[in-house]
């Protein structure tokens, strides 16, 4: 009671300074898990317990947590693909123009995930696809792991015989979800800069799934491989060439601790505009926003839209040499470890802006609030998609319309009044 009464009580099981410094600077009070808390920044293991049928507990109105109960619908590689495939089929069934296909049967607007199969379940389907293009390379990823662990590349069926043998045994094989793999067509024509491969890490905050309201952090970054990219098959085993995860690159001989092999997204934009032109660059960034929103729409129907929850995702995107972006995966617990000084500043600000949106005014939350923060608190976030606003704009608006703004090097732009936006959703 007294002065402490109004202060937010926080708990976390992730000992990272970028988090703790943010809590402390708001004057919040640290408490233990078994005490009354208002804000819990939890790891994905903990969220499982909180919402599990056996051990879970009811959250009260003044408690919020940083994960949705079944976030894995988006953040597990196999479930993400499954949900997107389901979403596409649904749109196709209802005759939506979004599900339009081209003459080769590929989705025009929704082909943003590389061809993927689950193993061992879809092994035979995979083999069929593999044989259509026997010189292709595929990437094997364990469903439940992160940081590039357990990933390897294959270009021969013999390399994954193990999964075929298992699928052929008819008796019940208990596949613990940890051993399940996804196999995806490897993008062997990534866009290279300075001869090096890179991927994009973008942060997306979701405050509610129904209606969908999401924000994109303007300060994403590119992660470069330290070694020159080569599609040569002799280097398939060299993870320094292929995997951009910092956790892997950190151990390379050439890893640099000053810039950490990262570029800001605005650098990328400057480079692309200068070397490729403005239209194709705008189109690329537009497509990136599009695929993020589509991925969220795909899982929205199956997400438990618990009002105590918000989530900050780490989206990994690769751009190919035709400037097409591909969604590789979504991380529920993007790393809060800082590899460089710049990194630390970025992540500190990320958490700061996230908390400003998720916990309005830094006061004890009421999960029943409308989750519509005023523009001033967005910080480096900008609205990516606001379903409520998009719908309320009336019938003359394109139902696929967004109320987001283009994320450029300059940040938000004043909207042209009355004129159609130059870069539009398809």
């Amino acid at each position: 009671s007294g002065i402490m009464a109004g202060k937010v009580k926080w708990v976390t099981d992730i000992e990272k300074s970028v988090l703790i410094n943010n809590f402390e600077k708001r004057g919040w009070i640290q408490v233990a898990e078994n005490e009354d808390w208002n804000f819990y920044w939890m790891s994905v293991q903990t969220i499982r317990n909180v919402f599990s049928v056996e051990t879970g507990y009811r959250l009260s109105d003044d408690q919020i947590v940083n994960h949705f109960p079944n976030h894995y619908e988006l953040t597990r590689k196999d479930l993400m693909v499954k949900n997107i495939k389901r979403y596409r089929k649904e749109l196709e069934k209802e005759g939506s123009p979004l599900a339009e296909k081209d003459e080769n049967g590929k989705y025009i607007y929704l082909d943003f995930v590389p061809v993927t199969f689950m193993l061992p379940a879809d092994y035979n389907l995979f083999v069929e696809e593999f044989r259509k293009n026997p010189s292709s390379t595929w990437i094997m990823k364990p469903c439940g792991k992160a940081q590039g662990k357990g990933i390897f590349l294959i270009n021969k069926l013999s390399q994954i015989k193990k999964w075929s043998r298992d699928s052929k045994t008819s008796s019940f094989v208990s596949q613990s979800s940890k051993e399940a793999y996804v196999i995806s067509l490897y993008i062997n024509n990534p866009l290279l800069i300075g001869g090096k491969k890179f991927d994009l890490r973008l942060y997306v905050l979701v405050s509610t799934y129904r209606p969908l309201r999401c924000y994109m952090y303007k300060l994403g970054f590119c992660r470069f491989c330290t070694v020159k990219y080569t599609p040569s098959t002799s280097e398939l085993d060299n993870m320094f060439v292929h995997l951009t995860n910092v956790a892997i690159q950190k151990h390379g001989d050439d890893y640099n601790h000053i810039h950490g092999g990262k570029w800001t997204v605005s650098n990328l934009r400057l480079y692309l505009e200068s070397t490729r032109g403005k239209e194709v660059t705008n189109k690329l960034f537009d497509e990136i926003h599009w695929i993020i929103v589509q991925s969220l729409k795909a899982v929205a129907p199956v997400m438990n839209n618990d009002k105590h929850c918000f989530e900050c995702y780490g989206y990994d995107i690769i751009i190919d040499d035709k400037l097409k972006p591909w969604l590789i995966e979504v991380n529920a617990s993007p790393s809060l470890t800082s590899s460089t000084a710049n990194d630390r500043i970025l992540k500190y600000n990320l958490i700061n802006d996230t908390l400003n949106i998720a916990v309005p005014n830094g006061e004890i939350p009421d999960c029943k609030w409308n989750k519509s923060p005023p523009k001033e608190v967005l910080g480096n976030y900008e609205v990516l998609y606001d379903e409520e606003m998009a719908q309320s704009d009336g019938p003359e608006r394109d139902p696929r319309g967004r109320s987001g703004q283009s994320t450029g090097a300059k940040g938000s732009r004043a909207r042209d009044l009355g004129k159609p936006a130059l870069t539009t959703w398809k």
Binding site: I193, G194, G195, I258, S274, K410, G411
Partner: protein
């Protein structure tokens, strides 16, 4: 002696004609003229006029115009028919002498490094090594040779010391009252512009004129300036007019047009013979090993590899710089530079010109490297990147590394900076001087690197737009003064050089165009 303008003009024409004769443009024009003979509109009775018309309508006249314009931009006007070549390099004797001594010092340092390390300045590479280098050409960054014994030949502050000690022996301090009161580090009385002259020269940066870097910010609707400016830029490119491009970029380049606009101004078209030339340089690199290669290597590792923006292009930097140090066509520019490059020969081939290599005056490659790196944001084709860099060097950057009286030379820039500061921010200037923090000690490294490595890349490119647009480096000195003006409040509170350095350590958030505009046009003088 003053030159009769007509005489000067005919001398200039003669020189330009002499330089363009025998160039590939010349042979192309001849070829075009010959081809045109088959065309129906070319009539025998009006042959000369018809061919001229044809060359105009087909765009070849424009190419010739661009080439002439380029020559005029790069080479200085002749001073007097009887002027000896040294005077074209540098009219002031004491400057020539100082540059000569500086070069001797550098060469001595290089030679002693060779002796210490028992490495010749230049030698032929064994065949196995050649093969290896060829394979690794695109990823020299992954090499880890032992460079611990190589040290930079000199640091920027060594060069500054030399400049500080320049004196005109014919000059008595007491004579010019304006200079008598000069309290900066540079003590030679070169003529530099004052604010009103700068305002005139840089009139396109005025408050009422649209600028990229100011009027294209997120808060400004693009209809006000940006859209129209882009349209004009596209038109300039379509017309392929170097002079128009140079005028245009004074208001900044749209990012998507910048690469082409710079190439147009520098008259770089990346013809097949240019690509072939680059490939020849590359094969020179493969075949011969130079001592400076190791210095280049070491300096790239120290600078670009650690830079937030440039690390990605590390490999391109090796390629460009290794080729550059074997490019004897760069020697041409030394006729108008105060420098005389030390020449060496591949070991065992003394005196044989085809085995000659030269050492550019700035063997401290830090500055070099940082002047190549921003170009990697614009050009990713190696031979084009190379040519653009070489042209930027022979037009501008070489003046930052040699001692001369030229208005864009580093000595003048330093003096301009100090004069601007002392005249318009006298309190700040005196304060910093009092605490042992002479402003030039801090700003020197910015200017000598044309701000590369200090500004954010997009800001740096906006600054270099104006260098090209005004064909002068004076803007570097103006920006340096503007930065001090911007941080004046904090600087007034510091009490040591180290603290002053700290205030000015991070320029990465600065927006250059507003700073320049305010300093030139909105500061009460």
């Amino acid at each position: 002696a003053m030159l009769d303008p007509d005489r000067g003009l005919s001398l200039t024409i003669a020189r330009v004609v002499q330089r363009l004769q025998g160039s590939s443009l010349h042979s192309q024009l001849e070829r075009q003229a010959r081809v045109s003979l088959h065309k129906p509109e070319i009539k025998l009775e009006s042959l000369k006029e018809d061919i001229k018309d044809f060359l105009r309508t087909s765009g070849w006249e424009k190419k010739l115009q661009n080439a002439v314009y380029s020559e005029l931009n790069v080479f200085p006007l002749p001073c007097h028919p009887a002027a000896p070549p040294e005077h074209i390099k540098e009219p002031l004797a004491y400057m020539r002498k100082a540059q000569g001594s500086w070069e001797k010092r550098i060469l001595k340092s290089l030679n002693s490094m060779c002796t210490e390390l028992s490495i010749p300045l230049a030698q032929k590479r064994p065949v196995s090594e050649q093969k290896e280098l060829l394979n690794k050409w695109n990823e020299m960054g992954t090499d880890e040779p032992d460079l611990s014994l190589f040290r930079p030949v000199y640091a920027p502050k060594d060069f500054l010391e030399v400049l500080m000690n320049l004196r005109n022996p014919n000059y008595e301090n007491g004579e010019q009252p304006s200079f008598r009161n000069h309290l900066g580090l540079i003590q030679v009385p070169l003529k530099v512009k004052d604010i009103s002259e700068l305002k005139e020269d840089f009139s396109e940066l005025g408050l009422n004129i649209g600028q990229l870097g100011i009027d294209d910010s997120a808060q400004v609707p693009p209809e006000f300036f940006e859209n129209e400016h882009v349209r004009v830029g596209q038109k300039v490119l379509a017309e392929e007019d170097s002079a128009a491009a140079q005028q245009y970029v004074r208001q900044g380049c749209p990012t998507a047009l910048r690469a082409d606009l710079w190439a147009l101004i520098l008259n770089i078209s990346n013809q097949p013979e240019d690509i072939l030339y680059y490939e020849q340089l590359k094969s020179n690199v493969i075949q011969h090993d130079l001592l400076v290669d190791s210095l280049i290597y070491k300096d790239v590792k120290l600078t670009a590899s650690n830079d937030d923006y440039y690390f990605v292009f590390e490999d391109y930097l090796y390629q460009v710089l290794l080729c550059f140090s074997r490019d004897t066509s760069v020697l041409e520019h030394f006729t108008y530079s105060s420098a005389t490059p030390p020449k060496s020969y591949i070991q065992g081939k003394l005196g044989m010109e085809e085995y000659a290599v030269f050492y550019p005056p700035n063997v401290n490659y830090n500055s070099f490297i940082l002047s190549v790196a921003p170009l990697c944001f614009l050009y990713h084709e190696p031979s084009k990147l190379y040519q653009i860099f070489r042209e930027m060097y022979v037009r501008f950057f070489f003046r930052l590394h040699s001692i001369s009286s030229h208005p864009s030379g580093i000595v003048s820039l330093c003096l301009l900076f100090e004069t601007l500061l002392q005249t318009h921010l006298p309190q700040l200037f005196y304060h910093l001087r009092e605490i042992g923090a002479q402003p030039l000690r801090i700003s020197f490294k910015w200017m000598v690197r044309a701000f590369s490595g200090y500004l954010a890349t997009d800001q740096l490119l906006l600054l270099w737009d104006r260098i090209l647009g005004y064909n002068s480096l004076e803007i570097l000195a103006v920006l340096a003064a503007a930065v001090f003006a911007f941080r004046a409040v904090n600087l007034m509170e510091v009490t040591s050089l180290a603290a002053a350095e700290a205030v000015l350590a991070d320029l990465s958030t600065l927006k250059v165009m507003p700073l320049l505009q305010i300093f030139l046009f909105a500061t009460v003088t």
